[in-house]
Amino acid sequence: MFDRDVIVVGGGPAGIAAAIEAARAGLSVDILEQRPSLGGAIYRQPIEGVAPIRQSRAALNRYAELMSALTAFVVGLRHMSVFLGMDGDGLVLFEDRGAGTVKSLRARAVVIAVGAVETVHPRPGWQLPGVSTAGGLQVMMKETGRPPQRRVLLAGSGPLLVAVAAQMIRLGNPPVAIVEAGDPFGSIRDGLGLLRFPGLLADALSYLLTVVASRTPWQRGTTLMSIERTRSGLEATLKDRNGTMRTMTADRIGLHDGIRANDFGLHPAAIDMPCGPIVIHAGDCREALGAVAAAADGARAGRQVARLLTAASSSTDEIERQLVRERKAQALLAQLFSPVNPPAPLSSLPRDTILCRCEGRTAGDLHSLIGPSDVLSGREVKHNGRFAMGACQGRFCATHVAALMNELRPGHPPVHAKDLIGQRWPLRPTSIAGLTHVASDDIENDQFRKVDANL
């Protein structure tokens, strides 16, 4: 009846920790991982033949501990397996990129641990080629061991910008500048608060010292307002804390405005299902608290599954305390990096600003749909405005479209991103050829491997 007791979706710290705890309770577990190796975005492993980039000792240790714990158990690893969602019958669907087919598995419980999504605020020009997320640049460095080439500008807000800059510097191509909307040096008191979180502080100092030593400009209290393509490259218009505007030119721009939980299109958590599997969300996709908390939250999810499916009674109290602590640390970081000047409302964006990058839909398209009298629902805006209908299924635009709708129709019940996206599979565009050759996965003949110690 069941192919596995537990399917864990995502092989980052949360997924690995969940698999360990479920396997410890004697449950059969498979991990679905879209990449060729485990690690997730945070512990992304280099592609074959590439030396790993320098990571902090603490981060290396954390990953080594997770992997060594995992090797103690029999856990099925399905690499190159892209999660497509769960169908109406409760089947877990994934595209096996190796085999080129879609496969399905039936499990008693599913732990969804697909990681956070990076927030990027819409700005004129953010859709131009050469503009990406800073997190995307970081993952690329981890995989290829090479920094993004030519003049790179990092802009937005948050500690990740400094981390990406430091990694670029160590790989030999310092960014032309880091543009930071907040001013983490602005409040001594908040800064001293970091002393309570020595791990966080050590990472931050290490990155910061690298940036300072390379004399990379870290322009705090400054916002990247817009990007234009000119003959000399991508011209960014920057506004400092006093409102003074100036431009800076680069060949690539990495944007980053924080990370957030990810529930885009995912099956909601379900503990008490009359039919269909138990579904638990774990790690940054449930609450974006960073790598340490993700592993803890994964362990919590694994133990919860064990309690629900077996007679196990392992406690999660200590994990709860750890999560409270990590939540405080993240709140402090958010406070340190809060923008000096409040961000402009989305309704002030120029009308030709792209909101939906897949279908090229603009802020003006949305303005024209929100009439003065009849107030369309999220779903109607989706259909008639073609927002959240493209290949990314609304991951990029739905949050912004919902936020702008709420600005434009005050007094009406708020619209949420999920009103536009819904909950459906496939989560990503999927080969029709693969879907026509689908069959329930044959466990016996499948190339499924026990974790081996060489990983």
Binding site: D87, G88, D89, L91, L93, V102, S104, G371, S373, D374, V375, L376, S377, E380, H383, N384, A391, Q393, P413, G422, Q423, R424, W425, P426, P429, T430, S431, I432, A433, L435, T436, V438
Partner: protein, 328 residues
């Protein structure tokens, strides 16, 4: 059939008048047969279409390959049905609402009709309060059953549909929607064996204006309107690829599902509600609502305004079901 023709005629008029100018398109659709059984059924269907004045062309062999080059070699016979209409439902709804200047009270569930003892309907009670009106028109799909106590008359009939990514070259090579001859089998089953057939498949591949394809679908006796299952999606896509092999190289963008409202005898319910002086019903189109919605809506509006409906709705009279009335 005559209702469908009246529906298309209204679309054409509204397109000429400008209201639907950019949201209604005339083009052919193609019904394709791949087996002896389908060929026989298709010949019968072609005769029926001709007899009511629909322009068709019978395509086979080299002529079929020329007219529809991306069709699988398995296709043996096709009937090109000319001058068919094409419109996207949500666009039509949005256009009509905007043109009428109607304010929709969204997220307002109607609990019941407010009926005086002489059969006059004063309005409706909603969760947000009472709304008074001179006439009440119920067009609530499957929800109409609860308001009217239509036990056993309406049945939810789920459909699963698929949308692909853009594939402009393949899309441009398709002169219209194609339908598997098997769709006729599936659709024909709706009236008689509602109780016995739990899930039917019929294939329609519709090249959309965006360069995408809409591929359908199922007819299922189910009200699980939100969910798509792998078995159905895989089956629909396999059927689609066997008719248009080029689709194998395209990606599926999304799957979605909805619930049609089916009537026990297979005909819609359009007309005055028996026993009530000023209440009307329009539902039960079971997937033909895009075609019939505007013409039925106009007829109901005419009835409500004490005019003679411009379209004969006697066959759709809700009074044909005994016991239709208002739940206490």
């Amino acid at each position: 059939m005559s209702a469908a023709l009246a529906g298309i005629e209204l679309y054409r008029k509204l397109a000429r008048d400008g209201l639907f100018a950019d949201v209604y398109q005339t083009r052919s659709s193609f019904i394709v047969a791949a087996s002896d059984a389908e060929c026989a059924l298709l010949e019968t269907h072609a005769t029926a279409l001709t007899s009511v004045g629909v322009g068709i062309e019978r395509l086979a062999g080299e002529r079929l390959r020329q007219r529809y080059p991306v069709l699988s070699p398995n296709a043996r016979l096709a009937i090109e049905v000319q001058d068919e209409g094409h419109a996207i439902g949500y666009k039509i709804v949005h256009r009509l609402l905007t043109a009428a200047g109607v304010i929709v009270e969204r997220a307002s569930t109607v609990d019941r009709l407010l009926v005086d003892h002489d059969g006059y309907v004063r309005g409706v009670a909603t969760e947000k309060g009472v709304v008074l009106a001179d006439a009440v028109i119920i067009a609530a799909g499957n929800g109409s059953a609860r308001l009217l106590g239509l036990d056993g008359v309406l049945r939810p009939r789920k459909g699963q549909l698929l949308v692909t990514e853009r594939a402009p070259a393949l899309n441009a090579a398709m002169p219209g929607a194609i339908m598997s001859g098997r769709y006729l089998l599936s659709k024909g089953s709706q009236a008689g064996d509602l109780a016995t057939r739990s899930r039917g498949f019929g294939l329609v591949i519709d090249p959309l204006g965006t360069g995408q394809f809409l591929i359908g679908g199922t007819r299922e006796d189910s009200d699980a309107g939100q969910s798509n299952d792998l078995a159905a999606v895989s089956r629909i896509l396999a059927d689609a690829v066997s008719l248009v092999p080029g689709l194998a190289g395209v990606r599926l963008l999304r799957a979605f599902a909805g619930v049609r409202t089916a009537v026990a005898d297979g005909l819609p319910l359009v007309g005055a509600l028996p026993g009530l002086r000023n209440a009307y019903l329009a539902t039960g189109f079971e997937g033909d609502g895009i075609c019939l919605g505007p013409v039925a809506g106009r007829a109901i509006a005419q009835l409500a305004c004490a005019k003679h409906p411009a379209f004969d709705i006697t066959a759709f009279d809700p009074g044909r079901f005994a016991g239709i009335g208002v739940a206490a």
